[in-house]
Symmetry: C2
Amino acid sequence: MTTDNITTTEHEAITDLREHLRKIALIQHASTILSWDQETHMPSSGGAVRAEALGELAGISHKRAQDPALGESIERAEEAAHASGDEVLQAMVREVRHDYENTLKIPVEHATETAEVNSKSIQAWQQAREQDDFSAYAPMLTKQVELQKAEAGYLRDQEDCDYDVLMNKYERGMTSASFAAICRQVVPGLKEIIERVVARSLPEPEFFRGPWDKNRQLEFSKDVAKELGYDFSRGGLDLTSHPFCTSPVAPFDVRITTRVYEDNFTSNLYGVIHEAGHAMYEQGFDEKWIHTPLCDAISLGIHESQSRFWENDIGRTEAFWVHFLPQMKQYFPRILEDVSANDMAIAVNPVKPSLIRVDADEVTYGLHIALRFEVEQALFSGDLEVKDLPGAWNEKMQEYLGLTPPNFKDGVLQDIHWSFGAFGYFPTYLLGSLYSAQFHEAISQEIDIDQEVAAGRFSGIFDWLRERIHRQGRQFMPLDLLERAVGKGLDPAIFIDHLDRKVQSIHGV
Amino acid sequence: MTTDNITTTEHEAITDLREHLRKIALIQHASTILSWDQETHMPSSGGAVRAEALGELAGISHKRAQDPALGESIERAEEAAHASGDEVLQAMVREVRHDYENTLKIPVEHATETAEVNSKSIQAWQQAREQDDFSAYAPMLTKQVELQKAEAGYLRDQEDCDYDVLMNKYERGMTSASFAAICRQVVPGLKEIIERVVARSLPEPEFFRGPWDKNRQLEFSKDVAKELGYDFSRGGLDLTSHPFCTSPVAPFDVRITTRVYEDNFTSNLYGVIHEAGHAMYEQGFDEKWIHTPLCDAISLGIHESQSRFWENDIGRTEAFWVHFLPQMKQYFPRILEDVSANDMAIAVNPVKPSLIRVDADEVTYGLHIALRFEVEQALFSGDLEVKDLPGAWNEKMQEYLGLTPPNFKDGVLQDIHWSFGAFGYFPTYLLGSLYSAQFHEAISQEIDIDQEVAAGRFSGIFDWLRERIHRQGRQFMPLDLLERAVGKGLDPAIFIDHLDRKVQSIHGV
């Protein structure tokens, strides 16, 4: 058990609750492995049965998650947690209640259908993207929007609109009004930096084109992830087309995936650091709370703050290259012969409007999110129909980034998220950057980050995050967690200032 | 549906039965992926939860498999199949009945516990083997023997002894008396060949030691598997420590695994051909019967006949090297510069007693099986206790192969099978060789095998097997299938003659 000052009856109540949670988690464990396999190893001919199996497992775990016996167990656990006075235990039970209430609102048929449609839809999106055919994917996307509208309808409580309900699945407490306010502050700040830098920015250096041997890239990226703190003995790295991090069992089995190109090492290296950042979060949960909400991420914004922190605030600094360039030169001695840490820092921090979100630089990235946020809002408010999506997309692309996609796959079909029914998810990427900048500011008050990184010492930074963020699981709401960690609330100005300083130090403007 | 001359009611009965089977198959699909992942990608820290998840899934599928509603559905389907006069349909329903009756005999608790113990036991065996510590594994092995004795007790019907019940799980209709008779005929035949060849056998040629680049080995092995007929678009190849073939969904997703060493290319190449042979069997099931016993192997002996046929009767011939050596030379031009197809044929067909079954040559292999058969019989008759296993093993090793293992991992701990509770399984390996020799003889009457193989034409041979073996699924019992395919019953003399001729043609003695 997890706490000392409780009675045997209370102990039994918690043990009973945890047994319910374990039974649900084991089925979700199977689903997670099946989904991971679908994206990494499954031959496409296995797709139809895979979709059915995922639907079946979702049905089973959903039934277990809304079992009245679980409801009774929660009640007894609530009493026990209250009597114990243990705040961690209380938070755990509070979160179980939160999940239970939400699950109760969703019919098993809806959960099963959603899981099945998601699995099929990912496969349909992949095909449509390969064939650059939006109309082939539109019916599936329409189905996804309908399913998510239905889900918002089931879940809706005090939220203003369906889209707010969906946002809350990913970022507890966030609303479209708050996020719109954040965008109103962030977008002009980003645009100002972009204008300033783009005018002076250098072309991509010649050495960048490689060719970079794929196996060596993977070896180097692994070395980096390991040194930063990703524990390979509790995870693994596999190839996929759309990189992700997944947790079959947090904190014991947290895997990352990546892709690798010969003409561009940054996709692999920064992709691996990014996913390793996510994975270090989930590897950092307290294992004694396995299968409970305390071994789960509080929000995707906090999750994303961990990936962005390591990718951008550590990985894309000159200090990082002071430490890692000599190692990378061992893998690529010829290409990197005359390259310095400063060359690298400049090269990996371009500021240039581009079409693809996942390839966007740190500054223009936020504009990709503002675009998606507005498009999604419109889809769910009824102001926009799926068939008109490409037009709306291209219009906003022009407005925010001054570009027009030449095709669907570099435009509206580029992201995987909608294909698995994730709407309201994109805002968490920008929130992640905001949180990350605030963590960076707070850590800087205790640690000379550049000095530590340049010396290859990551443990001080790692431990700060592990203690204040990772170990907390879902104990505190995102904004509480932030305030406890850094001593202040969310402030987009810190993010903009942080970017501004970084751009000045690297590009001199 | 699958047949034309049946009524709507009959059609509905079959459809209902297939829906039951589908619901069971989806859970088994998840289990298969979880087991595959456990052997290929799972970090060891994920092992404890994995074992629990596999136990949980086994419980669910076992419950579904003994659902009384399934029993009623089978009854209606039996009537429908009888009325239809369709023999294939009748065979399908007969096999569903067979599985249902067996499942009914096994309590859910036993199925769940067995799945959990298997998952843990595989992990324990791996550790014990690494540490060469039999006593660390002995308690788990004792548990496995107990569980399998209990299972035999549940299943036992008209069989003479528990061990016969277990043998029947893998080879329908086989008894220890019949297998002992086969051994009495095969063992002296093998010993005679061994004595004759060993006296004259050549040392391993120098080029054999490589070093063979691992990636190139994998590429070449893939080329070979593809050319022989393994369909990678319905499967995949992954690395593991103990190679196997697994079917998440036959015939749509049938995967193989392999290992690769720098100082020995045969382990990878012949391992891949072997597993591809297994996989081609399952890829050959008739997809319209998905999730039914007609998309399942009739026995492991027949399964093994397919792997051994391609590995030994095709892969280890001079004709094979006439065709494939030029391709292999492209991967390893330096090492193979002066090597001829005949050199290869001699080199890949050593005859030499050795300690490790999976590395044993085609002739000595049968002796490893005879040893295991006798040891297992003694374990289940009560003549041998687990603690005395290493002694019994070493004694028989001396008797059959004239060798004494220097440690446990090259002796009694070498095989994975007992760790997943498979006793009575080893005999199917020898049966596979017997069947394979008879298939070879029958095909030779229609096709000049050497001529086709040397020309790189595999489709005639492949189609013969696909039509007469693969497509049949579980329609016929193993010995019926054999007789239908080759026109005669099981005859160990054909295997011995076949080996004898091969050894003479290659080694000249």
